[in-house]
Each structure stands twice: as C-alpha cells, then as structure tokens.
C-alpha cells in the first residue's frame, strides 16, 4: 500500500510541476511578445509622424504651390488629386492621398505598411474624414495615416490624423 501511495504522490507532483512549467512558459512568451509589440508600436507611430511632418511643409493646395493664394476661397481650391506615385514629386498636402508603401525598419525589411488618405472635411461633420469629400472644397483638409504590421497584435491598425486649415499668407 505504501508503494501505491508513493506512486500517486509522485504523479501528483509531476502534474503540479507540469502546470507550473506551462504557466511560466506562457509568462515568458507573453513578456517577449509585449517587448516586440511595444517596439513595433513606437516604430509605427514614428513612421506615421514622419509622413505627417513632411506633408505639413507642403502647400495647402495645388493652386497655392507658388504661394499665390486663390482669390476665391474655398472655390479656388482644386480637388484632391495626386502628382504621381513618386513621393519626391509631391508638392501639396493632398498629393499624399492614396499613397501606399511598405517600409524597412529595424524589425525587418518591408515590415510595416503605410496607407494615406486625404479629404476635405468640415466642422459641420465634426471633421470626420469618412464624411469628407475629394471634390467639394472646404477650408479644412484631414490626413489620416494608417500603419499596419504583422508585429502588431492581431494585425491591428494604428491610425494617426492631422487636420490642416487653410489660411491666407498674403493679401490679394
């Protein structure tokens, strides 16, 4: 009887130890995932900010690239269009509309994908880009940069938005 009791106790100890081992492995895996995700989030935000900062330096509209402000505002603005797919050709804020790219980062080649949307928005629609327009000009343009990556949890998207307001730089 003593022999059977020892065997049962040993089996019990092995089961308890296995459970502890599984829990600790899960914890180590979770820690590692958390580390990578935190880093990936930081990189994604930086990529989005880079595009927004770059776009901020460009003219508000194709019609203001020579710094001459259209006399009629906002009718003088062009629609949301593009100066081609090459980012180096972009000369106004809405050229970034439809821009997509995959970026190389420290986490790997083409590890992050970026997609940009620009639209005219209005206060009456609470500056909602989904209710914005590419053809009906207003004094406000909203840029939304969406960053995706396999390194982000459940392939979730990180979205950064920037609202740009037109203002006169010269008296006409």
């Amino acid at each position: 009887m003593a022999g059977i009791s020892e065997v049962i106790q040993t089996i019990g100890a092995i089961i308890i130890f296995s459970l502890i081992l599984l829990t600790s492995n899960r914890m180590i895996l979770k820690n590692s995932t958390q580390e990578v995700e935190t880093e990936a989030e930081g990189i994604a935000i930086t990529l989005g900010q880079n595009i927004i900062k770059e776009a901020q330096t460009k003219a508000f509209d194709e019609n203001t690239t020579d710094q001459n402000v259209p006399k009629t505002v906002p009718d003088g603005f062009s629609g949301i269009d593009s100066d081609g797919e090459n980012r180096s050709n972009f000369d106004d804020f809405d050229d970034y509309n439809g821009y997509t790219n995959t970026m190389d980062t420290k986490l790997g080649a083409q590890s992050f994908a970026v997609a940009v949307k620009v639209a005219y928005v209005s206060p009456s629609n609470n500056y909602d880009i989904e209710k914005g327009s590419e053809t009906v000009p207003t004094n406000f343009k909203m840029m939304q940069v969406t960053i995706t990556s396999d390194y982000l949890d459940n392939n979730r998207e990180i979205k950064l938005s920037h609202l740009r307001r037109y203002f006169k730089t010269k008296e006409q």
């Binding site: 180590i28 958390q34 935190t38 880093e39 930086t46 770059e54 330096t57 460009k58």
Partner: protein
C-alpha cells in the same frame, strides 16, 4: 530540482529583460522629445524665419540657428555625438555621450546612446551634404542598457532600443 532551478532562472531573466527594455524605451522617448523640440525649430525666429540656419552638418554633428527660447535673438544650437569618448558610469563600452549645447552651454545626455547618425535630404528626398539644400533630417539612434543582461551558461547581452525619425523643419521650406 534542476528543472525548477532553470525554470526560475528563465522567468527571472525574462522579467529582467522586459524591465531593461522598458527602461531603454523610456530613454529613447525622452531623447526623442528633446530632439523633436529642437529640430522642428531649426530656422525659427520670433518675427520670421532665419535664412540658411544650418551652419554645420555631418553624420554625427549638426549646428543650427534657432530662437529656441522664443526670447531675444536667435541662439546657436549644436547636437554632437562624441563617439571618441566613453561614458565612465557604464560597463557598456559602446555607450558615448550625446551633447546638446545652446550658445556654448553644454548638456551631456548620458542615457545610454550607443549609436547616433544624422542623414540629410533635399526637397526631393535625395541625400545631400549641401547646407542650404537641406530640407529633411533623418536621425537614427540606438539606446543601449548600461548593464548586461546575464545569460544562462555565462556571458550576457546589452538590451538595445532603436529610434529612426525623419524631421522636416517648417522653416527650411519656402
């Protein structure tokens, strides 16, 4: 008993690694905040922009004019990664001081910067070394932990957190 010992060591190492990485990431974000404040204001003055504000630019040093305190006249701001000097308070020999100075008043940023590289781009995003053509500045930086994370079986590694950011100062554009 050996399994329990190794399991304990693994859990402990994992937790230490997480803590050290968080510390390096906090340092990255702190340096990034100061960099962003300075870089975005290149060429800024209270009543207009400064013409040709960048007076020196290479891969580890940039000197520019900016009214950084928004008072009086513009200051001369310098960022310099001194890779020839080691930080005494660290066991990591790859860590060097990152110096920021405003009108010669130097602040040494010793938070574990092990790599700092500046690259300059013109308006078409092509690399340039010509000062008055610079429109964008890319900063690549790595911050490492000051102490090693021990490995089972000896040796160890330093935890590293990178930052890669492109700055587009408004006053460098027309």
């Amino acid at each position: 008993m050996l399994s329990i010992l190794f399991m304990n060591m693994n859990v402990s190492r994992s937790s230490s690694e997480l803590t050290m990485r968080q510390m390096t990431q906090i340092n990255v974000s702190a340096v990034s905040e100061i960099l962003t404040y300075d870089m975005d204001k290149i060429g800024y003055d209270r009543f207009g922009k400064i013409n040709n504000p960048i007076t020196f630019a290479d891969s580890n040093k940039i000197v520019f004019k900016s009214n950084i305190d928004k008072m009086g006249s513009a200051e001369t701001v310098e960022w310099h990664f001194d890779s020839s000097t080691q930080v005494a308070s660290s066991s990591n020999i790859d860590i060097h001081p990152l110096n920021r100075s405003v009108d010669g008043d130097k602040t040494e940023i010793n938070v574990g910067v092990s790599s700092f590289k500046l690259t300059y781009f013109d308006k078409n995003l092509n690399p340039t070394a010509t000062l008055d053509e610079i429109r964008h500045i890319k900063v690549e930086m790595v911050i490492s932990s000051k102490e090693q994370l021990g490995k089972i079986g000896g040796g160890g590694e330093y935890i590293r957190s990178p930052l890669e950011k492109m700055y587009s100062p408004k006053n460098l554009h027309n």
